[in-house]
């Protein structure tokens, strides 16, 4: 090991262990958040997944909005897609507090069970449900992760040799190090990109210097400069609007057929009403939505933005690299697998540290505490995620504060897992991994039993849960036969 590696060993080992208690849950939640719409659909089995043409969806949404959103300053329509098959509508006067509803393929409002859906995993991943404080915390964790990656390269300096080294049988003491190194080296580009881009996404929250200097602290200033919005006040003169389906065709002429993801109508019923169409971003790396604004009365093109400031585009490309809306299911699946393997890499690092510490200090109180927290950050978060998904099926569909009950199930399971890990010590690893594997395997059965036959999207989530369950059972059975965690 070279001198820098020795100097950073403490940072890598202690920093890696302590911050892995948050990093592993963040990586697990982030991996699930990649499939936010699919999980959201799974958690609302009342929603039909029949495909619908965009122009028909726009017509159905308009008809519904004319009934429920009469007089509202703002209408919003999310057109159905392969990932979110229901039509989403919103209406109101405050863009941040719109009334929202989902529509079935016949245009009727759906009343699905209340849930945070897959959005919960995104919020947990991005801010630990703590708002601005959470973003600060995640930003700090991301910076330590970046430093751990760099220090890890210096500590495990035989990087190419390590990459081809995995000795699960030859020397069990080394097996965990081999797993840690193999995953760390194989995932190095992914880990660097995902961690760096994650900190970039959060930089605005914890480092407002540029906003202070350039925009006098106005947080919305940069976006207002980057996105050319076309807004005009209401004239007060009534006028009838062209059908939304025709407006959609006008927008598609600029943005591409089938590429419009959402429509926003401002001042509906007024002579100055406008329709703004946003392009979907699922076929491009940068998460920037080109948009056009049309006159809602005569369909005239008023404004468009299909070119972007290059630096804004580069920034949004980093956002796109992190949120992976591009690349289709294969790319999202790759992110999902890499995210979970990244969590496994950190878990293996924790096991290495704890085993070495046990050899030197024995089973003291601090060792028991460290073992418990490490186990709860891995097995506990898996159990918590499964409890969240299972509570969606086990709680009554109509229940006051239902969303909060689901979140409560998540934290209750995590708390119980921590208590169990503190009580049982390292023996809890095996129990919690096997239990998580069993629950994940049971998830498709629970889905079928409580919500009946599903569609392809729900089937894909069930299949993913079953695969993960099988792998967890294998990990619990195979890996923990190694004496290092017995």
């Amino acid at each position: 090991m070279n001198a820098l590696g020795k100097a950073w060993l403490g940072l890598h080992a202690w920093g890696g262990l302590l911050f892995s208690w948050l990093l592993v849950p963040i990586f697990v939640a982030g991996s699930l958040a990649v499939f936010e719409p699919e999980i959201g659909h799974w958690m609302q089995p009342e929603v039909d997944a029949r495909p619908l043409l965009p122009e028909i969806a726009a017509g159905l949404a308009e008809a519904r909005l004319r009934t429920v959103g009469e007089g509202a300053a703002l209408w919003r329509v999310r057109l159905p897609s392969a990932r979110e098959p229901a039509i989403g509508i919103g209406w109101g006067n405050n863009p941040r507090q719109l009334n929202e509803a989902l529509l079935a393929a016949d245009g009727q409002s759906l009343s699905p069970r209340a849930t945070h859906g897959g959005r919960f995993f995104t919020d947990f991943h991005a801010e630990l449900l703590l708002g601005r404080n959470g973003r600060w915390l995640i930003g700090a964790v991301g910076i330590v992760m970046l430093a751990s990656i760099v220090s890890g390269i210096f500590i495990h300096h035989r990087i190419l040799r390590d990459f081809f080294t995995f000795r699960p049988r030859a020397n069990r003491r080394r097996a965990w190090l081999d797993i840690h190194n193999l995953l760390g080296v194989a995932l190095l580009p992914f880990l660097l990109v995902i961690t760096y881009s994650g900190v970039v996404v959060l930089a605005e929250a914890f480092m407002p210097a540029a906003t202070q200097v350039l925009y006098d602290g106005k947080a919305g200033g940069p976006r207002a400069d980057a996105v050319r919005a076309f807004l005009r006040p209401a004239s007060g003169q009534p006028a009838s609007m062209r059908p939304l389906a025709e407006q959609l065709a006008g927008a598609e002429a600029v943005l591409g057929v089938g590429k419009v993801g959402s429509l926003t109508v401002r001042q509906s019923g007024d002579r100055n009403a406008t329709v703004q169409a946003h392009r979907s971003v699922d076929d491009r790396l940068a998460a920037v939505a080109d948009h056009v604004t049309l006159d809602a009365v005569d369909g005239r093109l008023l404004a468009q933005q299909t070119d972007w400031n290059p630096m804004t585009y580069a920034y949004r490309a980093q956002v796109g690299l992190h949120v992976v809306h591009f690349g289709g299911p294969i790319m999202r699946g790759l992110y999902f697998v890499c995210g979970l393997l990244g969590a496994a890499m950190m878990a293996a690092g924790s096991v290495i540290f704890l085993n070495k510490r046990r050899q030197r200090h024995g089973e003291d109180l601090l060792q028991r505490f460290l073992e418990g927290c490490a186990c709860a950050s891995v097995g506990g978060i898996l159990l918590a995620c499964l409890a969240y998904l299972m509570s969606n099926r086990l709680l009554p569909a109509i229940l006051p504060s239902r969303k909060e009950w689901e979140v409560g199930a998540f934290f209750l399971a995590w708390g119980l897992a921590l208590a169990h890990a503190l009580w049982r010590g390292r023996r809890a690893w095996r129990t919690q991994l096997l239990l998580a594997g069993g629950l994940a395997l049971a998830l498709p059965g629970l889905d079928l039993a409580t919500a009946g036959g599903g569609d392809a999207l729900r089937g894909a989530v069930d299949l993913g849960a079953a695969l993960c369950g099988g792998l967890l059972l294998f990990a619990g059975w195979r890996l923990f036969r190694m004496e290092v965690v017995r």
Binding site: A13, A210, M311
Partner: protein
């Protein structure tokens, strides 16, 4: 000449060239103070350096505001990681604090000249 290994986690640490056996012992009370100081310097020095760098770039880069803002956003992790790594590699936390705060002050000062 071998570079000096900073005594971050105690004197007389057993370091092996084999990363299987390398392990940092738990810090003693005295080392704990040094460790706390390094953590403090890493956090505050990184923040100060990032702030100073941003002020400097915002003042001197000859681009429109939005370009500079989105550029600085992409650079944000670098000063933090740099100072964090330096805080645990340098012989003393004071040296890193002097460098990071000094550089931050210099950059912010140059930025305020514009």
């Amino acid at each position: 000449m071998q570079p000096r290994i900073p005594p971050v986690f105690g004197r007389g640490i057993f370091f092996s060239n084999d990363s299987v056996n390398a392990f940092p012992p738990s810090p003693s009370r005295r080392d704990g103070h040094d460790l706390a100081l390094r953590i403090l310097v890493a956090a505050s020095g990184g923040y100060a350096l990032c702030w100073g760098l941003f002020v400097f770039l915002c003042a001197w880069l000859p681009y429109e505001k939005v370009t500079v803002w989105y550029l600085t956003g992409q650079l944000a992790p670098l000063p933090f990681v740099l100072v964090l790594l330096a805080a645990f590699a340098a012989g003393s936390a004071g040296r890193v604090a002097a460098w990071s705060f000094g550089l931050a002050g210099l950059l912010a000062g140059l930025g305020s000249l514009e």
